[in-house]
Structures are given as C-alpha cells and as structure tokens.
C-alpha cells in the first residue's frame, strides 16, 4: 500500500514530518510504521510544542528522588518513605462520554503511580465546566462526578480533595484532570528503564480491544467501508480489573523479579515498549500474535495503537516467568511473554514469524520533532472599572451573591459522591484548604491540594502562573504541612496560535519563578493542548497539585473555628485589590483588570511564620485568604464550625468593599487563644510580619460592625443550596 497525503494527514502528521520520517528510516514506512510514528510524534506523547518551555522548570531539590520523565514524580518524606504522584488530563474523552472519560482518567493516573511500586493512597481532581446555563453542563457535571467516584470508590482509594469550577470558556471543552498520590518505600521504587538483552517482555492485565485507536479509526475508513463504527474512540473503564492489576503488581514487586515496568497509557503498547527500550538504549522485539486480544482478527496495526485500559508491560529478570505468572493467574489476569529485549536499538515487530515493521527506537523517541513555536506576550489592558459605582453596593447582598454562586457554593454535593474514608487514613477530608492523609501505621501524614486560577492566567499569564503556585503552597501551610513539591497539568488551547503559545510560555515563567523562590520543585506533570473549538481557545488553565509533609501528627489543624472568644489575626497586608475579583464577577459580571500582584518575599515569609505558629501549637484554626477575599475566607471558617465572628470595622481603610472583598495575596487568617497573643506577636514581630488583630469569634452571629450581622446558619443555607437546586 502506498501512503497518500490523505493518509498522512489523517494520522495527524504534517507532510514535512512525513518527509522527516522517510529520511530517518531511509525508506517509506508501511502503514503500521506510520501509525506508530503518528502515535509517538503526536503532541501528547512527544511534547513537541512544550518541551523547550518545560525544560526551564526547576525540578531538583533535596526532597526530590525522581523528577519529570518517569511515570510519576517521587519525593522523599524521610524514614525510607517516599511519595509518588502525578496529575493528568482526560479532557476530550470526558466531553464525549463524561462517565467513562472521567473514570478512565482516574484509572490511567492510578496506573502511573502504582507502576512505580507505590500503593495509591489518595486521589484528587480538578474539574472545570462551562456556564451552568449551558445546556450540556448539567449532564457533563453529573457524568464526570459519578465517573470519578465510580472508579475511585470501586478500586478503594479515597478521593480526598479537588476543585469544581464553572466558566463559560469551557462550554465546548470541559477540563477533567485527575491526580493520584501513592506511598512507596524509598528503596523499592520501580522505573521504566530496560536493562539487559534477551530479557522477557511480559504483557499483563486486560485483553487488547479496538478501543481508542484514534488516527487509526479515521485512517482505516479508507480501507473498509464499515470499519468506522467498529472502532470506538472512548474506552470503558474496568476498575475491578484495575484493582486486581494493582494488587498483582504490588505482590510481584515484593521481590526482585522486575527489571522495568511501564503502564500502557496513551498509545498503548507502542509508547510503553518504545519508552522502556529508549531509556535503556536497547532494542525490543515483539511477537504480536501473542498479544491477548478481546476481538477476533485484530491486526498488528490495531494491537500497537489500541488504548485499551488496565494493561502493563513488564521486563522480567531471567527465570522469574513462572513465579510471576502464578501471581497474575491468582488474580485472574492475563500474563503472556510477548517479546524480548535486543541489542539492535530497533523496535522489531513480528506477526506469526513474519517481520511486519522495524523502526529505530531513536527515531521514535529522541528524534521526535521539537518545535520552537512562535509566541507573543500578553498586552496588558487598562482596567475600565468605575470604582465609585462598585463601592455603592449593599455589603451583605454582595456577600450573598458570592456565597450563593456556583463557584463558591459548598461542594458537598460533589464530594459526598466520593469515598473519602476508605483505607482508614484520611485525617482531613474534602472541604478544607488541603486534605491530610496519614502514612499507614505511622504518626506522620501528607497534605495534598490542587489549585488553578483561569481568570488570573487569562488576564496576565505570568502573574497567574505565580499565583497558583503560591496559593497551592499556602493551602498546604494552612493545614500545618511543609510544602515539598508539585505536579502540574497544563491545559491550554491551540499551540499553533501565537497568543495561546504566549499564554503558555508566560504561565510557565510564572510557575518557574514561584517554584524557584519557594523551593517547591516540579516533579511530574502533563500538558494538554488543543482545548477549544472553532478557533475559540479556552482560558489558559494550568492546574497545580501540591504535596506537603506533616512530620508529627499530634493535633491536625484546619479552617474550622474551634472556640468562642478566640482572637482573629489577619496575617499579610491588605491593599484592596478588587480587579479580577469574585466580587466583581458575581455582582457585576465584570472580569476586568489585572490579577493581584505576587510579592514572593512576603508570601514566603508570611507562610513560614504561619507554619511556625502552627507547629508551636499556638493556633486553633488557620485559613488562607484567596478567591472572594477576607470576607469569604471568614465565612468559610464560620460556616464549617459552630462559631461566628465579630469584626471591627477597619479604620484606616479606603473602603470596606475593597478591604473585605479584595484578593490580595499572601494572607492568612489565624484563630488564637487570647492568652497566647503575646507569644504569637513575638513570633510575628521577630519575622517582620505585617498583621492585624481584626476581631474575635462569637456564638451564632457573623457580624461586621456597622456593616452586617447574620446568623451563620442562614449563611450556611445560602452557601449550600445551589447544587441541590441545579
């Protein structure tokens, strides 16, 4: 068969890329080989548009055991314990089939984590939907949430934190990002680098079907009229099989049988075998007739490109085959030796003893295209905000507008659909700044959270990039954890568009600077481009997933007020930055101006001081101030507890609206006992921290002198009704 331009195009390859392939191969590829190139050279696998930018991120640190480049990042939390974590997007499949798309997103990220020898201990997600009034939003929300729950609940890993947001920029392109966190022994981490020749390459897990053959489904329409509808592009998740695969892999990992292991994610068998060989500078030979297939008459092309879920590829030490087979059979899983490592540095594919394809591994991996795409800096638009007009709103009504809005409503409609308690170590469930999960059988714990700020990033991508890292860092601090490292999922539009590429580059600059300043390295991540339709790109939406450590789990801290008549301190300076605020968006539908600036020094200094106060046991509760400003943060503390507040009207302030709703960064609210005030002030003054004593807690009422007084139960009701009425 000759490869026509149409076939090349349908494989998502540019004609120039095809010329390059021919040069590398010194001949024309056959269809199977073309399919393999298309899988390895696409954006998702090759990171061809993003690589030069990603390289700039800080990835090193004392705490880092493994940075980006493996299935997941690994960090050291002491005592031979390691945490393995990563976030990944499943945006497009979730839009087409929300339940299965979201479910398989969770399944995929879990495999990335247990491939490395870690038992997953927590799941998180960041989900973004279009406007609630868009006709598709409701069923997408329903499907995605039950899909995430359906997979995590069934496999028995708690879903402990996340974010759920609505913004019309996602009307035609929702975001579904899932993060998994696992625990491993530091000296028992498994990698994907092949070593040694003539080692058995083993296929384990589910059988291979015709699912997810993207390029293929279209390309093959040329060959067979009826093939189109035979090839679903959405996979169905099977959490039950994944649970078996998880247990079987962890059982096999107890001894020294495995040389290398890699899950079959995007581009399935192709990318897993190529990556293992490439990392080990080896070749790999596969006998495709041995691949366990779900359907009859599957071709090598289909086997190599299938994205069937719940599968793994393992390279075994000599003589371990029978031992390993027994384990997988015990768990009712397929186990087949389908090939071996070679010294040819080629991917060699045979089908019934006939050579059907042969490509240099380098051509697929290290020689994949790398683009330095054009990009432009964001032009800063002056805000047209009429400040006088906004100062005239009724304070309490403005607050109610924010509290009752979809984005700020209580998320228990979502989180009650996730099992947060299974595995018995969830110390802090959803609803706090970060979740806390105990390390099994120890009295230490990790804290985890995910954060994003699409509006900030749209308006000024670099500040937005800084802000999400800082907010994420702050959220971990607020539960008493020392932030260690992050993973990131970069959801952007079309990278061939210079503005989108500019947003990408600038967001990364911001992320980089923040991570460097805070010593908060990036250890894993994922890039999702081409989010959008009809030339309308989504707002740039990088999502940051952070992990921190709580070394001594004596009395975990959260944002719930604990007592009557405690003192409330606001740490950090309030300038009243109202542009890009929730207040403007929910009250006036204005999304205008610049996001609040980030002052790295204050951010770090304030955060470390708060962590210090927590560690010294001087705080009753802590909450960071983020979206919605001081007033919303105070409300969240009150609504989750049985106490209200009494706050003096600030004296030196320009205007209460800006003071209470402004979204200045680097701030925390801290609840302390009156008796501890002197001790607390000492710590703060020693570290040159700006703070204000703003008021006290009280029973029943949420009160700002001269501005409002409401029963906290009423506020709670206002904050809890949206989802139930939607």
């Amino acid at each position: 068969m000759t490869i026509t331009n149409k076939i090349i195009e349908k494989h998502g390859l540019k004609l120039k890329e095809f010329e390059n392939i021919k040069k590398l191969m010194k001949r024309e590829p056959n269809l199977l080989e073309l399919g393999i190139f298309s899988a390895m050279w696409n954006e998702h696998c090759s990171y061809k548009s993003s690589r030069i930018h990603l390289k700039k991120l800080p990835t090193k640190g004392k705490q880092v055991i493994q940075g980006p480049g493996e299935n997941a990042g690994v960090i050291d939390i002491g005592d031979n314990d390691a945490i393995v974590f990563k976030i990944e997007s499943h945006n497009h499949p979730s839009y087409i089939e929300p339940y299965q798309g979201a479910a398989t997103g969770v399944g995929g990220i879990l495999r990335d984590v247990f491939t490395m020898g870690a038992r997953p201990i927590a799941l998180l997600n960041s989900i973004h939907f279009g406007s609630p009034s868009h006709p598709k939003t409701k069923s997408l929300l329903n499907g995605v949430v039950s899909g995430i729950g359906g997979y995590g609940n069934c496999i028995g890993i708690p879903t402990v934190a996340g974010e759920t947001k609505f913004n019309e920029t996602y009307n035609e392109n929702i975001l579904v990002n899932a993060m998994a966190v696992g625990h491993a022994k530091k000296d028992k981490i498994f990698y994907s680098k092949a070593k040694g020749i003539n080692k058995s390459v083993v296929y384990v897990g589910s059988k291979t079907g015709r699912d997810g053959i993207h390029g293929a489904s279209m390309a093959s329409a040329e060959f067979d009229e009826n093939s189109e509808d035979k090839k679903p592009t959405v996979q169905v998740g099977d959490p039950f099989t994944e649970k078996l695969l998880l247990e079987a892999c962890l059982e096999l990992m107890k001894d020294e049988s495995i040389i290398a292991i890699q899950d079959m994610g995007a581009a399935g068998l192709t990318s897993s075998s190529v990556e293992m060989a490439s990392k080990g500078s080896l070749g790999i030979e596969l006998n495709l007739e041995k691949v366990p297939c779900r359907e009859e008459n599957m071709t090598p092309y289909e086997m190599m490109l299938s994205e069937s879920q719940e599968r793994m590829l393992i390279i075994l030490e000599d003589g371990k085959e029978e031992h390993a087979r027994k384990i997988f059979n015990k768990w009712d899983l397929d186990f087949v030796v389908i090939g071996k490592t070679t010294n040819t540095k080629n991917l060699t594919l045979k089908f019934n003893n006939k050579l059907v394809g042969e490509i240099q591994i380098d051509a697929l991996a290290t020689k994949a295209p790398l683009y330095k795409r054009k990009w432009v800096r964001k032009k800063i638009k002056k805000s047209k905000l009429d400040i006088k007009k906004i100062r005239n709103v009724n304070f309490e009504e403005a607050l109610i507008k924010v509290l009752s809005s979809p984005n700020h409503s209580n998320k228990s409609w979502v989180t009650n659909q996730y099992d947060q308690m299974v595995m018995g170590d969830t110390v802090q469930r959803s609803g706090a700044d970060a979740a806390i999960v105990r390390i099994h059988n120890k009295d230490k714990a990790i804290a985890v959270t995910v954060d994003s700020s699409a509006n900030y990033c749209k308006s000024q991508p670099k500040i937005g990039g800084k802000q999400i890292v800082c907010e994420n860092w702050r959220n971990l601090i607020s539960v008493g954890a020392k932030p260690l490292a992050i993973t990131n999922c970069l959801n952007f539009g079309n990278p061939e568009n210079e503005e989108v590429m500019g947003e990408f580059a600038e967001c990364l600059e911001g992320i980089k600077e923040a991570c460097e300043f805070l010593n908060y390295p990036v250890v894993s991540g994922n890039v999702s481009f081409y989010n959008g339709t009809n030339k309308k790109n989504i707002f740039p939406t990088p999502v940051i997933g952070g992990v921190g450590i709580i070394n001594k789990l004596s009395s975990p801290i959260n944002h719930k007020f604990k007592k009557d008549k405690s003192l409330l301190l606001l740490i950090g300076k309030t300038f009243g930055h109202i542009e890009q605020s929730c207040f403007l968006k929910e009250n006036f539908s204005i999304i205008d101006g610049s996001p609040p600036e980030i002052n790295f020094f204050n951010e770090k200094n304030n955060g470390e001081a708060v962590l210090n106060l927590i560690t010294l046991g001087l705080t009753n509760s802590v909450h960071d101030v983020s979206n919605g400003g001081l007033i919303v943060a105070l409300c969240e503390m009150a609504m989750s507890s049985n106490y209200g507040i009494k706050i003096q009207k600030p004296k030196k302030v320009r205007n209460p609206i800006e003071y209470f709703f402004g979204e200045d960064q680097g701030r925390f609210i801290v609840e302390i006992n009156e008796d501890d005030l002197i001790k607390v002030e000492k710590v703060l003054q020693k570290n040159n921290i700006y703070y204000e004593l703003i008021g006290i807690t009280q029973k029943k009422y949420f009160e700002i002198e001269g501005l409002m007084k409401s029963d906290i139960n009423d506020l709670f009701k206002i904050n809890s009704q949206w989802y139930n009425q939607y």
């Binding site: 039950s146 496999i155 028995g156 099977d238 078996l244 299974v422």
Partner: protein, 226 residues
C-alpha cells in the same frame, strides 16, 4: 478471640477492618475467597468494598463463590458473622440474611457521616451500647436501600431483629434522616438467631479519634467480651 476476614477480588475495606480488629485485640486472619477451609474463628467478617466490581448486582457474584458454603456451615453452627456494607449485600445474596439492598434513592454513591440508632442492645454485637443510643458512623455505598417483604419486615420488628436505624442527631427516624431510601430507615439487621449482623454503615471507620470518632468501638468490644 479469633476472627477471619474474607477477601474477595474487589474487596477494599479488608485492610481497614483488619486494623480495627487487631486494635480491639482480636487474633485476625485474612482468608482468600478461593480457600476451601476456614481457620477456626469465633467471628467471620465479610468486609466492604466492591467484590467483583459490584458488577451484575452488588454482592451477587461473591455470593456464588466457594468459600460461601463454608461460611454458611459456620453460621449454622453458631459462629458470629458480621457483614459490613458490601459484606451485608453479600450476606443477602447468600440467603443468610433476608431482603435485599437496592440502589440508593437518589441514584448516587453516598459517602458521609450519618446518625444511626441502636434498636436492640441485647445481642452479642451490641451489648456495650445503650438502647436507642445515637451513633455517628460513616456510610459509603451505592446500594444501601434496604428492601424486604412485608412478612419479613413484620418478623424483623416483632423479634427485635432490626439492629440500627438511620436517624437525625436528635434520634428522629424519618424521611429526612434517611440517606438512601431504606425501608423504615433500616441500616442493619440480624438473622433470627442473632448470630449474623449485616449493616451498611462502617463501624471500622470509627475506631480512631484522629480519623473520625470512636462510635464504632463498642461494637467490637461487645464481641470480644461476649
């Protein structure tokens, strides 16, 4: 006291219950579903989770496994049997407990702390609780909507075979305090001989102050001191 926890493919609260049992001084063994003999046990626990993915009907497929005939034998000879969540569903599928667990009324998985009320404290499972004591216990299930025939419901009531009912924090048993639509707010039941308890809430999740509360402790201490 010796306890055994039966592990099916897809069980996922097996470790949690083992931790709780050991904390409460049980000598516990894990039993793989393909095993054909049970270790000597005073208590057999069928844990929560998604045995066989909850495919077909929750509990249906585990209810057909080999070990089940051993469990039935043990039950008939008076061994104590506790089925939690998926374990309760499995017990109804094996016929050891009557009735069945339908989809939650709102068709959603529900995970939250709910209040339940102790309806009978004169059993080996509940003797350490007070009658009508209100407990706060976590639930996590898709199918917890208990249903049974009228005649069986009458028997449950007459013989004191209802173990727990969902209620609110003040003890009121009504539609508003019913999370999943269960018949008469039933959260757990005994068999006629009261040596088998099936319940949807997870007592093993409530034995550690750091994680939640300790309202589940007395269930285990009732058993160990029986």
């Amino acid at each position: 006291m010796n306890s055994s926890v039966i592990v099916f493919p897809g069980s996922n609260c097996d470790r949690d219950i083992a931790v709780a049992l050991e904390k409460m001084q049980f000598k516990n063994k894990m039993v793989w579903h393909k095993d054909t003999t049970l270790p000597k046990s005073d208590l057999i626990v069928i844990p929560g989770g998604f045995s066989y993915g909850d495919y077909l009907r929750s509990g249906a497929i585990a209810g057909k496994s080999l070990i089940v005939s051993e469990i039935i034998k043990a039950a008939n000879s008076g061994c104590l049997i506790l089925g939690i969540c998926n374990g309760f569903q499995i017990l109804t599928e094996t016929g050891l407990l009557k009735g069945t667990l339908l989809r939650n009324k709102n068709l959603k998985f529900i995970n939250k702390d709910v209040n339940i009320k102790v309806m009978n404290n004169e059993t080996k499972f509940t003797s350490k609780y007070n009658l009508n004591q209100i407990l706060k216990i976590n639930i996590a299930h898709n199918e917890g909507n208990y249903f049974t025939k009228k005649s069986h419901l009458e028997e449950l009531k007459k013989e004191g075979l209802i173990a727990f009912k969902y209620c609110d924090e003040k003890g009121a048993v009504n539609d508003r305090s019913n999370p999943n639509g269960a018949l008469e707010n039933i959260a757990g039941i005994f068999n006629a001989k009261k040596n088998i308890l099936g319940m949807m809430p997870h007592p093993e999740r409530m034995v550690d102050e750091m994680i939640s509360n300790t309202d589940g402790v007395n269930l285990f201490s009732s058993l160990i001191n029986k």
